[in-house]
């Protein structure tokens, strides 16, 4: 038996096995996170409207997402007549892969990280911008005017908000002197960057909410005007993949905010991953809170806000940060 294991180790190597275990773990985290967030969203919306929210399935309705998942899996996968078949089938898959990759570099704890890549943040940003592509494919392939309008809006929005997102992160990278997420967390041992870079934090969080297409920037799927936006024509598990990707993106944005501004896994007494998930879910709660407070902005307001306010502010912040560090 031992020889057999040694043989396999000799062929694939420890590195690969660790990566595979990590990927399985990531998959579990992704799915469990999506289940928790669907439940949390309904519960938070309920309480903000002074209702209870789900409560019938399991204690406090905790098993409701599982019941919903079973329903979605059991549903027929409808394919409308005139869709561009390859694009239509590909889009839900493409939307899901980049968010999986982003999880690989996030440090959940001091030793709990699938892979510490020295350009970690570039990996996340590069892959998260791929989700725009899948939204465009979904909108184009669906052959539906609502889908197309939704996806075109999404592209314009994502291009506009990726710039302040990058600029805000850049000023933190300048201070930490590293692109590796772990180094950035370690650099916050004394003071969290939210206190040194409050403007960058605000800009990043706002742009992050816009990147994940959440209210008040949810124009790509504005229910009241576009039915469901880019996923109008999707049903069953294909729709569920878009749904999963949206919630996972939300988690990733909050996880990056935690890593860059709130000290990541650092905190007294409790183990690191508790701090990490606590901070991340606090930010997720803030995003849910935003959704039930703010009305949707108009499209010109959305673009003006990014190009005329967020980008100049974050650029100025970057220049000032660079200047102070040079002194």
């Amino acid at each position: 038996m031992n020889e057999f294991i040694d043989k396999i180790l000799g062929i694939v190597g420890w590195e690969a096995i660790i990566t595979i275990i990590g990927l399985v773990g990531v998959l579990v985290v992704v799915v469990v996170n999506a289940l928790i967030l669907t439940w949390a969203e309904r519960k938070v919306s309920g309480h903000i409207q002074r209702r209870i929210g789900p409560k019938e399935v399991g204690p406090f309705g905790l098993l409701q997402p599982i019941a919903d998942t079973i329903k979605l899996i059991a549903k027929e996968l409808l394919t409308p007549k005139n869709v561009e078949k390859p694009l239509y089938f590909l889009a839900p898959v493409i939307v899901f892969i980049p968010v999986m990759v982003s999880f690989v570099v996030i440090p959940f704890d001091a030793r709990l990280q699938v892979k510490d890549i020295n350009v970690g943040i570039l990996v996340i940003l590069a892959f998260s911008s791929l989700s725009v592509l899948s939204i465009l494919l979904a909108g184009w392939g669906s052959n539906n005017k609502f889908s197309l309008i939704g996806s075109v809006r999404s592209v314009a929005q994502n291009i506009a908000y990726e710039i302040p997102l990058l600029l805000a992160l850049l000023s933190v990278v300048l201070m930490a002197n590293s692109l590796s997420l772990k180094d950035i967390v370690e650099a916050q041992k004394g003071v969290w960057y939210i206190f040194l870079q409050p403007i960058a934090f605000l800009v990043f969080f706002i742009a992050g909410v816009a990147e994940t297409n959440r209210t008040p920037f949810d124009l790509p799927e504005a229910e009241s005007e576009l039915v469901a936006g880019f996923h109008t024509e999707y049903s069953g598990m294909r729709f569920a993949l878009f749904f999963l990707a949206e919630y996972t993106n939300m988690f990733i944005i909050c996880a990056i905010t935690t890593t860059f501004f709130l000290g990541g896994y650092q905190g007294p007494i409790l183990p690191g991953f508790v701090w990490f998930f606590g901070k991340t879910y606090l930010l997720v709660f803030v995003i849910l809170w935003f959704r039930w407070t703010f009305p949707r902005v108009r499209f010109d307001q959305l673009l003006n806000f990014s190009w005329k306010l967020l980008i100049p502010v974050s650029l100025l912040n970057l220049i000032i940060t660079g200047g102070i560090l040079k002194l």
Binding site: H47, I48, R50, W289, F294
Partner: protein
């Protein structure tokens, strides 16, 4: 958009909005979980009419089968009021009082004209039937049922 005063004012208004929703988030729930819990019906609620029992003799209702309600009903919802004279009693006793609830509009004229105040509004609001015939309530039978409970 680039007016800094407007931006600051807007940001403050957003924070105020967040305050409103978080206050609602921590306030107690105001909905009633209907099939699990029920609210108290106000005393002036108008359900379908019911017959009021005689306090001295709970076996009978106050109805004396005079037919005033039947004559005065604007919708003809009171289909049949019948009764009989029992041994040793001066007044008639209702044996059947059929109310067609499909046409009743709960106007309350029957309650007003009743000389013995034998009619009153019930507080029942969650009654379901499967066909039109189910809407013909026999109020005497219902009274008998209430009496048993």
């Amino acid at each position: 958009m680039n007016n800094p005063v407007a931006i600051v004012k807007g940001a403050i208004s957003l924070v105020i909005g967040l305050g409103v929703t978080i206050k609602a988030f921590f306030s107690p729930v105001i909905t009633t979980q209907y099939p699990r819990a029920e609210i108290n019906i106000s005393p002036r609620f108008r359900g379908h009419t019911k017959l009021v029992g005689d306090k001295e003799n709970p076996d009978r209702t106050l109805c004396i089968v005079c037919g005033m309600c039947e004559k005065n009903c604007p919708s003809g919802a009171i289909v049949k009021v019948e009764g009989e004279k029992k041994e040793g009693e001066k007044k008639k006793t209702a044996t059947s009082y059929i109310l067609d609830f499909t046409t009743c509009s709960q106007c309350g004229i029957c309650v007003e004209v009743c000389p013995t105040d034998a009619l009153a509004f019930s507080a029942e609001y969650n009654r379901a039937v499967f066909d039109r015939e189910g809407c013909h309530f026999d109020l005497v039978k219902e009274y008998e049922k209430r009496k048993v409970h």
